[in-house]
């Protein structure tokens, strides 16, 4: 099962061959765990592994040092096989202090390895972490392998002589640890050395030097010290993945690039207007750095202003985009209604987080499906698309732009906190292989009125200010179907409401039919998912199929409108389970729209679904599955 150390080592080599391993780096917020994790991810990627990461950080920027709520962690699953998730459990836990040990130990597999910095296990830190007794002595770590190293003092030994203060020198602890883990997995530290040089070399050469020294010292420690225990040196081979050029990509990065790609394919320019909010802000940051592509980014005074500016931008001819998270999208709803009424293109990115209200900003959830599909005053339909993984965000963002511009409608693009922060190797797309979908603007005054619909798409013309002879007025007040002028006619309102609905509904004819991700149409059981639950569902279903269970995986990109064949497809299974990180939002929607008796597998803990949770649900649903073969 993914996430377990399957030892298939050749006895002649010193290094044990393993096909995948999960490592979790955990420490204080100030310990640089995210950085350590992302460097390690790059190293794994460069070594040809497939991988998935899970940065798990606290909401507080500077929580009190040593507390459990200040623990920041980075989990990576890498291997020579295809990796679908960041792993249910870890094989190795690196704990930089007692608090990190305390919050992370529960998910270390039995027999797993704990590497801990004994230098940080002081009386004071133990108390701060809430340990009554030292866990190293009270037997609570008995079922694990323990590697205690005084990383603090060894780091100080190498870093301090290079001219750093005690505090600065201690900050190099993470690099020392990374050096050791590089040695454990036979990874080349050189790219990290280069990276440190690039990052600090110019401004603070002594900091670069000290970090490099610490990294090398950690590596050397592995090589020379006598490290006890059976499993400390491993090789993880290259994964068999599709040939081509790869890079690591984070969800919010891929999503931002996808938005730009879509904008270019539509022959437009982008105005992104946003207000900072976790975990959506990186979209604003990434796009603010892409001005050379003509991208204009506007940090508005709030989310309402952001969406209004984006709509104003679309009105005047750019593609308006606004990116936020649940609380911010809630604020935008009135304005989105105006974009629906005036039929202007707009992309609303919602990187979902745990709620309600502020909830748990840094934790993931999929609980804004209702908000996206139904969450506006009046009859106000708009398409909703969902992203399943960091790499998938690129293509789904392009699709969102295609639909928004072709049909002159706002589109919601759903991502979540897990996808936004997670990274995965990505087969870099070649833009020359994409088919452009240029969006024409109206220029001909002959027979023009602003709500004259294209008979096929039902889209109205996009006539932007500055175009000679096309002066017109639009707004939120209902307008006449035939002239576009203000109208309070009862029959006209019915007609316009129907037209707005029909326009969105018939987009279903312009999207692919729903396919089956794993398995085949028809059978005993289908697990249906959307968004970031893709990895665990896919791996769980795959594992159970290997064991002979008749189960399929269906994963939706199109939440609204639903693919035309979805009802028929779901009805071809004896049973349908919708697995999602909310209390049953997609399930309700499918039951209401398709009349299928879907059941739910629901989890709302702020943590991603686990593979084992999928497997258990399958097992419970299909007790005699094996006999069915």
């Amino acid at each position: 099962m993914e996430g377990s150390v399957a030892s298939s080592g050749s006895p002649d080599s010193q290094r044990k061959q393993i096909d995948s391993v999960v490592v979790r780096f955990a420490g204080d917020s100030g310990d640089g765990m995210q950085l350590t994790g992302s460097q390690f991810s790059s190293a794994a990627a460069l070594a040809g592994n497939d991988l998935a990461t899970f940065p798990d950080f606290p909401a507080e920027i500077r929580a009190p040092v040593g507390t459990t709520f200040g623990v920041s962690a980075f989990q990576i699953n890498f291997g020579s096989r295809v990796i679908k998730t960041s792993g249910d459990q870890y094989d190795v836990l690196v704990a930089m202090n007692p608090a990190a040990l305390k919050v992370s130990i529960a998910n270390l597999r039995e027999g797993g390895l704990v590497i801990l910095d004994s230098g940080s296990f002081t009386e004071r830190n133990l108390t701060k972490a809430g340990y009554a007794a030292d866990p190293r002595q009270d037997g609570s770590l008995a079922q694990y392998q323990l590697m205690e190293i005084d990383i603090s003092s060894m780091t100080l030994d190498v870093a301090k002589p290079l001219g750093l203060s005690q505090k600065e020198a201690l900050r190099c602890k993470n690099m020392w640890t990374l050096g050791l883990v590089y040695w454990m997995y036979d990874r080349d530290p050189q790219p990290t050395v280069d990276w440190l040089q690039g990052k600090f070399g110019g401004k603070a050469p002594e900091v670069a030097e000290a970090n490099i020294a610490a990294l090398k010292a950690g590596h050397a420690f592995g090589e020379t010290a006598e490290i006890s225990g059976e499993a400390t040196k491993f090789t993880v081979g290259q994964a068999e993945i599709e040939p081509g050029e790869y890079r690591l990509v984070q969800g919010s990065e891929a999503l931002s690039w996808g938005l730009l790609a879509g904008t270019q394919l539509a022959g437009l320019e982008m105005l992104l207007a946003s207000y900072p909010i976790t975990p959506s802000s990186p979209v604003l940051h990434v796009l603010a750095g892409l001005k050379e592509f003509g991208v204009v980014t506007f940090q508005a005074e709030d989310e309402i202003a952001a969406v209004c500016a984006a709509i104003g931008g679309s009105y005047a001819g750019k593609l308006g985009i606004t990116a936020s998270s649940g609380p911010g999208v809630a604020l935008k709803t009135e304005a989105i209604g105006l974009a629906i009424a005036t039929e202007l293109p707009l992309i609303v990115v919602n990187t979902q987080r745990a709620g309600p209200s502020t909830g748990m900003p840094t934790k993931t959830e999929q609980s804004d499906l209702y908000l996206s599909v139904y969450g506006r005053n009046a009859d106000a339909p708009m398409p909703v698309l969902s992203v399943r993984s960091p790499g998938d965000a690129f293509d789904t963002a392009i699709e969102a732009v295609r639909i928004a511009t072709k049909y002159m409608t706002p589109v919601t693009l759903l991502s979540d906190g897990y996808i936004a922060n997670a990274a995965e190797p990505w087969l870099i797309p070649d833009m020359t292989t994409y088919t452009p979908f240029p969006k024409e603007k109206r220029t001909d005054p002959e027979g023009f009125h602003p709500f004259l619909r294209d008979p096929e798409t039902l889209a109205r013309p996009w006539a932007v200010p500055g175009t000679p002879g096309l002066m017109h007025r639009i707004g939120g007040i209902e307008r006449d179907y035939d002239s576009g002028n203000i109208s309070y006619e009862p029959a006209n309102h019915q007609k316009m409401t129907d037209a707005r609905h029909q326009k969105i509904d018939q987009i279903a004819d312009d999207i692919p039919e729903q396919d089956v991700e794993l398995g085949a149409p028809g059978g005993k059981l289908a697990i249906v998912g959307w968004g970031s639950t893709y990895g665990p569902i896919n791996r769980g279903v795959s594992n159970m199929r290997d064991q002979g269970y008749d189960v399929s995986h269906i994963h939706l990109r199109y939440i609204w409108p639903l693919p035309r064949n979805l009802g028929e497809l779901l009805r071809s299974y004896d049973k349908v389970i919708v697995a999602e990180m909310n209390t049953g939002q997609l399930r309700t929607l499918l039951r209401a729209e398709l009349l299928v008796p879907a059941e739910g597998l629901n989890k709302v803990s702020g943590q991603p679904l686990k593979i084992v949770e999928i497997e258990e649900a399958i097992q419970q649903s299909l007790p005699q599955a094996k006999a069915a073969e």
Binding site: D302, P468, I486
Partner: protein, 339 residues
């Protein structure tokens, strides 16, 4: 297109039936704006009126140009997006006192602070017209309305002091019925690069009739208004014998009469459009103790927001000509998996 012929105010009218109450001050303002558009040679193709919601905000329907009637309070934000999308457009924003200072106070503050190059026309009738007469953030203490039957108790906001506080670089005031003066003020607002705030005193005949009578009545206007002009002494009155004097000890203005108590014209404060302190003192003058200041109270341009922001985009574009998405995607660490 045909060779441009000079357009008249009538060319800026639409075929839409105007739906304001008969006698509403908004008609006069519409006339003043249409006259201004003709005077300045505005091109209907390139002109955009953006509004929120309210009686005032119906304005775009009646101007032959591009128009966007948006949602309550947010016109400033839409207009910002319009300018960032196409800075060449000539953008006018129209909002009532509720639209601009209540639900939209936040956005107006930021539009002015950022200095987005638009003309913001705030129609101040000190009441919520469209929703049938509730008091507004500019209503005076004691205003009786359906929602304040015993009279309002909260202090009103002063639109121009608010604007100056927000950092506006152009602040002016006009009156619906003072057509000629209003057109001059609007022409100045249009010429100003950056956000131009124009408060237009507007009579709501239905819900707040006569609210401004004290200083707008034609007969007494000379004594109750002061039309300020850059570089000129702040004089008013039929005989131009009254003026404003600054008391340097208290940093306040006082009304004095030339020839009385030894006051000469030299004692009168000279208006300086670039002086934010004077503008603040003028903005807060209210009847009956003071004449109400109209005209351009403050004008001191700096670079507009969209010019600065789009300048950065242009600079990056010329630093990386022909930037390719394919290269961006391949920037940094990549590796190749062989066949």
């Amino acid at each position: 297109m045909n060779a441009p012929t000079k357009l008249t105010p009538a060319d800026f009218a639409t075929d839409q039936e105007v739906r304001w109450c008969p006698g509403c001050g908004d008609y006069a303002i519409l006339k003043g704006v249409q006259k201004t558009l003709a005077d300045i040679g505005a091109s209907p193709d390139n002109t955009v009126f953006v509004s929120g919601i309210g009686c005032a905000a119906r304005f775009p329907y009646y101007v032959n140009s591009y128009g966007f009637h948006t949602i309550h309070g947010r016109a400033a934000a839409f207009a910002t997006g319009v300018k960032l999308s196409n800075p060449e457009l000539d953008v006018w924003v129209v909002g009532g006192d509720g639209d601009s200072l209540s639900i939209g106070g936040n956005h107006l503050f930021h539009l002015l602070r950022r200095n987005v190059d638009v003309q913001y026309l705030l129609f101040n009738n000190e009441i919520y017209g469209l929703t049938k007469g509730q008091y507004s953030p500019t209503s005076r203490v004691g205003t009786r309305s359906p929602s304040t039957p015993q009279g309002s108790v909260d202090q009103p906001a002063n639109a121009l002091q608010f604007s100056l506080g927000a950092g506006a670089r152009f602040v002016a005031r006009g009156i619906d019925i003072s057509q000629k003066h209003l057109t001059e003020v609007l022409t100045r607002a249009h010429a100003h690069k950056g956000a131009s705030m124009v408060e237009i005193i507007q009579n709501c005949v239905v819900y707040n009739d006569g609210a401004f009578e004290q200083f707008t009545a034609k007969k007494t206007a000379a004594e109750t208004q002061i039309a300020v002009e850059d570089g000129k002494p702040l004089l008013f009155g039929k005989e131009k014998d009254k003026g404003l004097r600054l008391d340097p000890k208290t940093l306040t203005l006082e009304v004095v009469t030339i020839g009385e108590n030894g006051v000469t014209e030299d004692d009168i404060l000279v208006h300086d459009e670039k002086n934010r302190i004077i503008a603040g003192l003028l903005a807060r003058m209210s009847a009956p103790e003071f004449p109400v200041a109209i005209g351009v109270l403050y004008c001191d341009p700096v670079e507009s927001y969209e010019s600065g922001l789009l300048g950065q985009v242009e600079a990056e574009e010329s630093r990386h000509p022909g930037a390719q998405l394919n290269n961006l995607l391949r920037d940094g660490n990549t590796w190749t998996v062989g066949d």
